[in-house]
């Protein structure tokens, strides 16, 4: 470990250190507010450190990690979403939990895990990053442990995650057995020296796909999604939907790029099937769903399918399209869950679609923000979701993947229906059924709303003028 290594690892070290620091702060019994603020500060510091390390790029820390433009971009997204989740968490947990402080420790750890995924280029770091993320999430999902749903979601996630981790591990073991290395580049190297494709390697890859697919919640490994989204506290759901998936997707992409997995017809075929199934089933499942969190869960399944559409060609445009869409998806999902968080009250989360009735007339700002997020998810122009979808279609069509593009289009029409349903509900009726209650912390409430407004402005700004972001994305190249 040279000095430069430390320097390059600053963000990770900061995240890890923050978790310890927060523990210490808890130990000296500081108030929730102080802890929340200091963790916010630490997130900001970690985020800014990303800008700081850019002159080093790309930087390899053998054999586990690589820090390049792409990983910095993904880390940025992850830390950004954690930051937003952090802001949203205060009012949510302040109302519901008497000791919400460990939450921040776990949040840092999960963020760390996701970031490790984003920078890893080795099975070990992949596995460890994934597990830090997952183990942290077990606790986060079940954080409000007195609620039945939280516990139920927690145990479901735990058993399934461990189960799928086992698949991932077994797959890795098979690949290791075949190639003699766990480093992506070495695997790629030994693959080129092989005459024919070995079944062991493919089996390993397939089993890894099970593990990764579970984390990404793509069909047929999607069934946990809705339950966990529904059961988990709203900010945590936001985190699962964004940071955890972003990290996993990043490492999957890096792995495929490095071993050039796109040449394996069978694997690609599997991925195409998964993508198609995810898009169709994800959207279909939400059609008449009544629970907003579940709707968003199913929609996230579909969105991962969309991401796979851009993933499959494995071209230069794929990287850009993926990066852009991930960003769009992050912003949008955070906004959507942010609204759910803000509207939640002490007893229940605002998950019943009925509770959004007449929201537009009662709280127009929130309704507008939510609408912009939903429209972005639906991919309607003027929002970033549209540009993202356009990008994905472009990436797919550039390499001639007409079928997936077509399925994307058709399934997103189904998707339209349920997004519109929520919007329609917000516009329907005259009177909201959500009780107008005294906010315990009006200041933080305002802060949350401002944060969400900024996000929704981003949604529209990037939707109207995406070239700025696209331009900067050129910079975040893989290696």
């Amino acid at each position: 470990m040279s000095g430069n290594d430390f320097f390059a690892l600053t963000p990770l070290i900061l995240l890890a250190g923050s978790s310890v620091l927060i523990m210490l702060l808890i130990a000296i019994k500081l108030s929730h507010r102080v802890i929340q603020l200091s963790s916010l500060l630490l997130f900001i510091v970690a985020f800014s450190s990303l800008i700081y390390i850019q002159k080093l790029l790309p930087y390899h820390i053998e054999p586990l990690l690589v820090i390049d433009g792409f990983s910095v971009f993904i880390m940025g997204l992850i830390i950004f979403s954690s930051l937003v989740v952090n802001i949203l968490s205060y009012i949510y947990f302040e109302e519901k939990e008497e000791s919400p402080k460990e939450y921040y420790v776990l949040l840092f750890l999960c963020t760390l895990g996701a970031c490790v995924l984003a920078v890893s280029k080795h099975f070990v770091s992949l596995f460890l990053g994934l597990e830090i993320l997952t183990v942290g999430l077990y606790a986060l999902i079940a954080y409000l442990r007195v609620r039945h749903h939280n516990i139920e979601a927690g145990i479901k996630y735990l058993v399934l995650a461990a189960f799928s981790s086992a698949f991932l591990l077994f797959g890795m073991a098979l690949i290791y057995l075949e190639t003699g290395s766990m480093q992506f580049s070495m695997i790629a190297h030994s693959l080129t020296s092989l005459q024919s494709l070995s079944p062991l390697f493919l089996t390993g890859l397939g089993m890894m796909l099970v593990g990764v697919g579970f984390k990404l919640a793509v069909v047929p490994f999607h069934m946990w999604t809705a339950d966990v989204y529904e059961g988990a506290p709203a900010p945590v759901t936001a985190f699962i939907a964004t940071a955890s998936k972003g990290g996993v997707f990043a490492v999957l992409f890096r792995f495929f790029i490095m071993i050039d997995g796109f040449r394996f017809k069978v694997v690609m075929l599997i991925l195409i099937c998964i993508a198609i199934a995810s898009m169709i089933i994800g959207n279909l499942l939400a059609v008449q769903q009544k629970n907003v969190k579940r709707i968003l869960a199913y929609s996230s399944i579909a969105h991962l399918g969309y991401l796979l559409v851009a993933f499959i060609p494995g071209s230069m445009m794929s990287i850009k399209a993926l990066s852009f869409y991930l960003m769009a998806y992050f912003i949008t999902t955070l906004t959507a869950f942010g609204i759910v968080t803000v509207l939640s009250n002490k007893e229940t989360d605002a998950e019943n679609i009925e509770s959004y009735k007449a929201l537009f007339w009662e709280r127009p700002v929130l309704a507008c923000i939510f609408s912009s997020a939903l429209l972005s998810l639906a991919g309607i122009p003027l929002t970033v979701g549209f540009v993202g979808k356009f990008y994905i279609l472009a990436a797919g069509l550039q390499s001639g993947f007409w079928i997936t593009a077509l399925i994307l289009v058709i399934s997103s029409v189904i998707g339209l229906y349920y997004y519109l349903r929520i919007i329609t509900t917000m516009f329907a009726g005259q009177k909201s059924i959500l009780p107008e209650e005294e906010r315990a912390n009006p200041v933080f409430y305002m802060v949350s709303i401002i944060a969400l407004s900024v996000l929704s402005l981003l949604i529209i700004w990037f939707g109207v003028y995406p070239s700025g972001v696209m331009g900067s994305m050129e910079y975040f190249k893989l290696k």
Binding site: I155, K156, V159, L160, F163, S164, F167, P199, L202, T203, G206, M207, L209, V210, G213, F214, V219, P220, F221, M223, W224, A226, D227, K265, V266, L269, I270, C273, I281, L284, L285, V287, Q288, Q289, I414
Partner: protein, 629 residues
């Protein structure tokens, strides 16, 4: 003078505009003044122009005045151009003159109607459209007038809109004529692609050059135009609307459904005569249609009890004569009959209107009677009109015009003994039903009390028309009887001379036969309806006669036929498909989507073991794919 040409149609139009926009705020006197005045002004301008036209015939044989280019798309550039030649002069004269009289009559007739201004507005609009029709320089403008008169006919048939029956009749009229119009529109397309223009003079000069005699394209074109004419002129097979059209006020029936609009078909065919001449088949069809119509309508008229329906069927029948004349190539005779018919039929309708008005809106002739002395003016004018209709020899104008047609039906180039015989039979029937009507209405005992007696406004036009019904025939006399050819000479500028078959020297026998048939008809009716009415009762015992009677009464069952063959299937189809069968397709898609949702939602059972099973199945699928591929 031809600079004034535009005033002829524009005056009624101005009247229409004033009445339509401000009619609500004008007093009745003003409404009548504007309505009748504008048409009368036109009627005054026409003779001025007409005299100019006759005294100093223009070198081209016509006046034309271009107002503006309607549109110009590529080579298609119809202009709003008015075009006056001998043929249109006759029509314009009849329209404005009779139109003015009827307007004046209406001022009295409609005096108590609440929609006074609307009536005059529509009538003015009608006169405008009709004038445009006959003055049009190109077929598109003609079509404008053509449809315009249809609209006015619709508006006026349904004038008393509170009664849905009237509305139904109006719709029927519009739609049936529209069927003809549609065919005519197709005819216009053909003409445009053949000649590259729709201007009538150009077409008429180009047609003989581009088409040879008997060309099938000429036949098609002619038939398409004929279809338009058949619709408007209520000829077979589109005649069914006219009897129902009597739902409108009597002046309307007089002006539109007797004197002018229904003869638009005659105008069109004679206007486009060159095309018809190029196709002997088409011309023969015209003649056959005319003959068949006059025959069928005659028998229907015989059985009607509504006075206006009798007149309506007689109108159909008389227009049948005109078509017959056109078909056999007796162009001038057709136009002559048109003019005479306009006079006496307008007269008859107006007089009938006066009768109906006098008898508290009683239409049934069997409930009339004995009006001879009570309404002397009406009686005498009606008598003159009837005489003309029945073609009472020598003294009525109708005799001269109809006799000419009968003679040509045999003698002209396209003539045929069968056509002649049908014509003769028609003349006989005409005499029968006319006499029947006269007797039932004016003789016998009074069955209904008289209410309202017609005023001066109504009687003066009747007298004028009666005058013309008697004496207008003398401007054209058979060549064995004075041989006075004022009218056909005039028309010869436009229409070809009637060519006789070889070996036709005398028409005396024909005249005598016609005379006999008319007199025989009158006598027959006299016997059955005046002298020995019990014979009718006796006849009615026979089942066959009754059935025949009903068959004729229903206009030979055409309405029923069309209803079952066309109207009912379409309405049935429309009603069955009210909710749009195509939408079911999309509902099906929705249904499938929702079923898919339900079955997929079922998989989200909440059971962790089931979820794991899903994961395992996924793994199995992936591994199987790897094994198999």
């Amino acid at each position: 003078m031809n600079n004034l040409l535009w005033l002829i149609p524009v005056l009624p139009f101005a009247g229409f505009l004033i009445l339509a926009l401000a009619g609500k705020h004008l007093s009745r006197v003003w409404v009548a003044l504007i309505g009748a005045g504008s048409v009368s002004l036109s009627a005054i301008i026409v003779p001025i122009i007409g005299i100019g036209f006759l005294s100093h015939p223009p070198a081209t044989g016509n006046y034309s005045q271009t107002l503006w280019t309607w549109m110009q798309v590529g080579d298609f550039n119809p202009k709003i151009t008015l075009f006056l030649d001998a043929l249109s002069l006759v029509f314009v004269f009849v329209i404005t003159f009779i139109g003015a009289l009827i307007h004046i009559y209406s001022a009295g007739f409609m005096a108590s109607d609440k929609d006074y201004s609307r009536f005059f507005a529509c009538m003015n609009l009608f006169v405008f459209s009709m004038l445009l029709l006959v003055l049009a320089d190109n077929l598109l403008l003609l079509y404008l007038g053509w449809e315009g008169v249809g609209l006015c006919s619709y508006l006026l048939i349904g004038f008393w809109y509170e009664n849905p029956v009237n509305g139904y009749a109006a719709r029927k009229a519009f739609i049936i004529t529209r069927i003809g119009d549609t065919a005519m529109a197709i005819g216009l397309f053909v003409i445009f692609y053949q000649f590259g223009t729709l201007a009538i003079p150009d077409i008429l000069t180009k047609a003989p050059v581009l088409w040879h005699q008997g060309a099938s394209i000429a036949t098609i074109t002619a038939l398409l135009l004929l279809a338009g004419g058949v619709g408007k002129s209520a000829q077979l097979p589109l005649q069914t609307w006219l009897p129902d059209a009597m739902a409108g006020p009597s002046p309307v029936s007089a002006l539109i459904h007797a004197a002018t609009m229904v003869t638009a078909g005659v105008y069109l065919i004679s206007r486009m005569h060159i095309i018809f001449q190029l196709s002997p088949i088409a011309q023969m069809i015209v003649a056959v249609i005319g003959a068949a119509t006059l025959f069928i309508a005659g028998f229907s008229a015989l059985t009607q009890y509504d006075i206006k329906r009798v007149l309506a069927y007689s109108t159909i029948s008389q227009i049948g004569y005109m078509f017959l004349a056109l078909g056999v190539g007796a162009w001038a005779a057709a136009i002559f009959h048109f003019m005479i018919h306009a006079f006496f039929k307008a007269l008859l309708f107006l007089a009938a209107g006066a009768v109906i008005e006098a008898l508290h809106h009683e239409h049934n002739i069997f409930k009339m009677g004995g009006l001879k002395n009570k309404l002397p003016v009406i009686f005498w004018t009606f008598l003159i009109g009837s005489a003309s209709l029945a073609a009472l020899p020598l003294i009525s104008a109708g005799f001269y015009s109809k006799d000419q047609i009968l003679w040509y039906a045999w003698a002209a180039e396209g003539g045929n003994p069968l056509l002649w015989f049908i014509g003769l039979l028609g003349a006989f029937i005409t005499a029968v039903y006319t006499t029947r009507m006269m007797i039932l209405v004016f003789w016998g005992e009074a069955k209904t009390e008289i209410g309202h007696r017609p005023g001066k406004l109504m009687t003066v036009p009747l007298i004028v028309l009666a005058f013309f019904s008697l004496f207008a025939g003398f401007i054209e006399l058979p060549h064995n009887f004075g041989h006075f050819r004022l009218f056909s000479d005039l028309l010869q500028q436009v229409l070809p001379e009637t060519i006789l078959k070889a070996g036709m020297n005398t028409e005396l026998q024909f005249q005598i036969l016609a005379l006999l048939s008319t007199l025989g008809g009158i006598y027959l009716a006299y016997v059955f309806y005046y002298k020995q009415p019990q014979r009718i009762e006796k006849l009615k015992q026979s089942r066959f006669v009754m059935n025949l009677y009903l068959f004729w009464f229903s206009g030979w069952g055409f309405d029923k036929l069309y209803n079952t063959l066309i109207v009912k299937p379409i309405v049935f189809m429309a009603n069955v498909n009210k909710n749009d069968v195509v939408d079911k397709l999309y509902q099906g898609v929705t249904f499938i989507t929702i079923r898919l949702y339900q079955s997929l939602s079922f998989t989200q059972s909440g059971s962790l073991r089931w979820y794991i099973m899903g994961l395992v199945i996924g793994a199995i699928i992936i591994l199987s794919m790897q094994i198999m591929l």
